[in-house]
Symmetry: C2
Subunit: 714 residues, 2 copies
């Protein structure tokens, strides 16, 4: 890619971003869009849906930027929770890293690269210069200037490690402080026990009761056996949807429209009263439901066991319970509203096999995904495209078209394909047997991250058949030199990727095009009637990997093609404001992990650093500077040792709360008169909502909506 | 190697074994040797050192075999402890595995191999037949007979996995039963806490006291702060040796010999009274010692913390204590007499760095050791030896010499070099920061095992420079074919190795040549005076790797060269009797790990199986049977999955006793009136013996020996 193509791409995307921002600042002020742009505030009752039309509201303003900027981190913490703060810390951390990188890259490395003669172009024609003249490829082979790159790699690694350490330290202390300031919560006192050994004499509930009164007499409080309620849940959702239809019908239809023919498409057959029809059906469903609930629902050999103190729960969690380690497996209980197990399985062996199957599925998905990536990869090589599709020759001759195709189209297509991945990974993670949304999302986050790294980075860099790539990793000795040859040659693709995919994804994140269209059509057809709407939950599993992947690109290309760095800095600056805005207005988190997403960020950063080092080793080898190449070898080793130290120093805090914290919190509670009430609630906290009594038909006359809400809130 | 050379070697070694056995059965009946052949019984007072000379005692008998055979496993368990039983189970397990292997190998595989024509020898001259005609090398390329080997590999793997599972099951249940039947022991109630944060206001003891009374108020009992007593220990051992000399002098010397010149070699200078001289010196040392003891010995920020119940100790052990995971690091306390820390370090970072250094040291030792191995390797190739040492040509022409050299010498030299390894590994493990003999020995056992596998197996198989071998493992794809080519060609070396090294090591184990010589000279020069002698501790760290390595050879060569199997079976039969005899008569274990050595055996067996599979994959490839080669690929994967399942099913039992066991034992103790006394003992159990008051000088007059004994027994 030449400089002018890059500038075209930057121009297009900057224009698009500005357009989106302007549209956003106008649209968000329209009262009708408040559910699209501030659903969180609506749900909390802070934003009013109705408002007068105002001419001022048609003017684009930047007030939202100010409002997103203003809240301090403590305010964010109190309103949004620790997870959101940790999410924002990714941006803060990345901004620090890349601010330093830009200074080094732009003021030291780019001039050094540009003054090289390896690619032997003349200095005159700047716009038509290949981007490669700003990259390390332009430095002469064997040149001593490469020692500048060598030093830059060392200094940069040191700075990143220092920042990683201080950030880990900061977030782990935040996590402890968050725990100290938390109210007593059901999940702090509860564990989930699986693989309960069933004897023929006693049922599951009795077995649990006797086991825990026997071995935890002083701390055991109560338990709730898990039941298979798939069928019940199906019935309930049927009833709910019928109820909704009915309520809608009652509100909208007049007496004249009440009748409809019961045949095909409501056109043939005899006339029936629609309202009556639905009421009848709802009653049938409810009868069915009650019958199912009163009949014994099948018990699953798993139970939520609650304890009187946090320490009690921790003891039962950390020390193996039974002599057979595959029985009485304890696991931290999720928050009651975080419980989610479409694929819940109690058998140890079954879960273990499912785990293996999911790994296999992930790997095959990753490999199969290479097919679209390879096709996209072809688009950056126009000549190849012309061979494949000869009829395009005429169009591709046009400069604008070819620039758009090389600069914009590939990453857009990749983007589209990639948007399918997070839901698939969520599905795989839930098959794996995690018991809560938070765990599923965390696991999916890791999966999506490695998927992205493999399929976007490695697949593009090591273009070629999938088999060839696997072969590369079977010959570890050659990896550095292969990477060093391949990675710099894809620099222009990734610069374009940051500008297009990165910037566009941010502005589309802000603009929320699809929800906007949905809301528009909903209002057009369904009217403004329904009060119900979902506040979207924070998409950690798709957001974090994207942000981290750009970090990986930045770190990897830091000394290879520093031209990427300013664009990344812009990305992170915009991302900081936009995600703050979205977290404050749009998303609400359904759960709180207490910052457990941070270790993923840390690991990804370490991986990026080591990848950079490996490429550096190969690069200095290619540039015939064997001394620099060997002197770089300690760098990845030191980085991995640093990582190992961090794992020992910080990771345990993200897994377990220490005795010190638990006992302090338990002592606080002892003096709290509200604990009696809390224990009562705790006993019922993990009851399955599907087993609560439901009453739809009676509510129809009243203005009440969603009769299940009270039971789901327990 | 040809068949007759092998038979020569078998003959020599069988003769040697019989000779050793005969000598042993005579020598062990001599009253003077009872300390060499039954020190354990002497120490327990079961064997009398004195006895009348008896003509019958000069006749070789096999009574010791009967006596070693007789005791049942339960008797072994009650007299020797679980570790010894687990040690014997290695033989039982190996016997089962190789009994099956011999049946398959000798009756199916050897005939199939022998009927092959690949090596195209004639059938007539059996003694001069190469051993290779009994191995898979003799099977024709592409022959369908190889499917027999393929089936054998599958069936054998299945049988071994079944045996592994049932053995793991058996030993883990034994371990739990052993725990149930154990008396209250100090180490069950105690943990060692390191990295105690020191504040300037309080000393270490106060910090520990306040921390545990704060966070474990109901279970905390007492603590003992660790002190740096290196200097004291030096003084004590000085005093002890002086005391011993003095006591010896008093007993042996008459008044005439009391004087000696104090100059060079006792020849020049003025005459002094030797007794007076030593007495004076001893008193000085004692004064010094007492002064050191009364002055504050430097505290180390680590402490043994004892609890009132086993569950209390487990809670403090398993749940992280402090907010900083690198502080208050808890570790299971070893048995009081198992405590050993020449390199004890409390700092988290220091221990961590030492760990890394030890890993580096192990790797370099392993690589440097290749030098002697490569030289030994040369001995099996006589022609090469003739080139190196031309003057040997004449001798090497003699048939006997060449047979001895190829059949016997190489493994003897290797043996000698190898005997140096266990002490080195013990040293490295103790540098690593383990706090007890048992942990050091367990860690050394693993180290010695991998060292043996690498340096005996791989170094011999992949003969060549060290660099070449490392290169092999950098190209994983080629490993199967390289191994498949190299491993069978070394079959004759390893058959000879089993016969020489294996059988000889067993008979020398029985004969205890070096202790016998030592004891002889001791009696000759020192007389029978000293009552002190050390009962040797069971050498798990050198014995187990040796036994396991033969298992690895057997499994690897099972389908390649089944001729090795009968010799291995003989090895295990002899080993079973000899080690039983030695455990009953010679060794006494200084500690009891409760069977923690078994996981090493299991892992080694799994590694052997996978190695066999990898070789099989390469072998079928070389023999142009690609279908068999690909169909073998699932085998290692299934084996590794089986191993993973075993890790989850059994390994936790070897690390932690579950709540169920702990609570049951604690309940039993509650009703025990002796617990009060036990708690008192517990408080003092981990006091440093170097800080106990010592009194040598007063004892000299009395008949008491070793005044330190009582303090060391606490």
């Amino acid at each position: 890619m030449i400089l002018s193509a890059l500038l075209t791409s930057v121009g297009i995307n900057l224009g698009l971003c500005l357009l989106f921002f302007t549209l956003y600042s106008i649209l968000r002020k329209q009262p009708g869009n408040v559910r699209v742009y501030a659903p969180r505030l609506v749900a909390e009752g802070e934003a009013q849906r109705t408002g007068h039309f105002n001419f001022e509201s048609l003017l684009p303003t930047a007030g939202w930027v100010r409002r997103a900027w203003q809240p301090s981190e403590d305010q964010l913490l109190s309103t949004l929770g620790l997870d959101a703060v940790v999410f924002m810390r990714i941006f803060v951390f990345s901004l620090r890293v890349f601010a330093f990188a830009v200074v080094v890259g732009v003021f030291i490395l780019i001039p050094v690269n540009y003054l090289g003669n390896q690619l032997s172009e003349d200095f005159s024609d700047l716009p038509n210069k290949s981007l490669d003249s700003f990259s390390i490829s332009n430095v002469d082979v064997g040149s001593n200037r490469l020692w500048i790159h060598f030093c830059a790699a060392y200094v940069f690694t040191g700075v990143v490690c220092y920042l990683l350490y201080s950030e880990y330290f900061y977030i782990s202390s935040k996590r402890v402080a968050y725990f100290y300031s938390s109210k007593p919560q059901a999940h702090q006192f509860t564990i989930l026990v699986r693989s309960i050994p069933i004897s023929p004499e006693r049922n599951c509930s009795e077995t649990v009761e006797s086991f825990f009164t026997e071995y935890h007499p002083s701390t055991y409080l109560s338990h709730t056996v898990v039941r298979r309620t798939n069928k019940l849940q199906g019935l309930i959702s049927d009833a709910e949807s019928t109820y909704k239809k009915l309520a809608n019908l009652k509100l909208t239809t007049q007496s004249g429209q009440r009748f409809r023919r019961d045949g095909f498409l409501g056109i043939f057959g005899r006339k029936i009263d629609v309202l009556d029809h639905y009421e009848k059906r709802l009653e049938d469903l409810e009868d069915n439901l009650r019958m199912e609930q009163t009949s014994l629902v099948k018990e699953v050999p798993a139970a939520f066991v609650s304890f009187k103190s946090r320490l009690g729960a921790a003891i039962a969690l950390h020390i193996p319970q039974g002599i057979n380690p595959t029985q009485w497996i304890a696991e931290r209980a999720p928050e009651p509203n975080d419980v989610h197990w479409p694929f819940f399985s109690t058998s140890f062996l079954k879960r273990w096999i499912f785990n293996i199957l999911v790994v296999v599925a992930c790997v095959s998905l990753t490999i199969l995904f290479l097919i679209p990536v390879v096709i996209v990869q072809g688009l950056t090589h126009l000549d190849q495209l012309e061979i494949w599709f000869p009829f395009l020759k005429g169009i591709l001759k046009l400069a604008v078209v070819s620039q758009v195709i090389t600069g914009y189209l590939p990453s857009l297509i990749l983007q589209l394909f990639l948007s399918l991945v997070p839901p698939i990974m969520i599905m795989l993670s839930s098959v794996q047997g995690y018991i809560s949304f938070s765990q599923i999302e965390k696991s999916a986050c890791t999966k999506v991250l490695w998927f992205t790294v493999w399929n976007i980075f490695f697949a593009n860099v090591l273009s070629g058949s999938a088999l060839y790539q696997v072969n590369v990793f079977l010959e570890p000795k050659k990896i550095p030199s292969i990477l060093a040859e391949a990675v710099p040659s894809q620099a222009s693709f990734f610069i374009a990727y940051v500008v297009t995919s990165g910037w566009t994804s941010l502005s589309s994140e802000l603009f929320r095009l699809i929800p906007l269209i949905c809301s528009f059509f909903k209002r057009l057809f369904a009217g403004e009637s329904s009060d119900e709407f979902d506040v979207p939950s924070t998409p950690y599993h798709s957001g974090i990997p994207k942000i981290l992947f750009f970090g990986l690109l930045g770190v990897t290309y830091f000394f290879l093609a520093p031209l990427i760095l300013p664009f990344l800095l812009v990305y992170y600056c915009m991302g900081y404001i936009i995600y703050r805005n979205q977290l404050l207005n749009v998303y609400s988190s359904k759960y709180e992990t207490g910052g457990k997403f941070w270790p993923i960020v840390h690991n990804s950063m370490i991986f990026s650093l080591v990848l950079m080092h490996v490429i550096a080793i190969g690069m200095f080898g290619l540039k015939k500077l064997p001394l620099a190449s060997s002197l770089t070898i300690p760098l990845p080793i030191l980085t991995l040792l640093f990582n190992e130290y961090c794992r020992q120093r910080f990771l345990p805090i993200f897994k377990v709360y220490p005795v010190e914290c638990l006992v302090k919190k338990d002592r606080e509670d002892q003096n709290d008169p509200a604990m009696g009430e809390f224990y009562e609630k705790l006993t019922a906290a993990y009851r399955d909502p599907a087993l609560e009594p439901v009453q739809f038909s009676r509510n129809i006359g009243d203005g009440h909506n969603s009769p299940l809400l009270h039971s789901a809130e327990v």
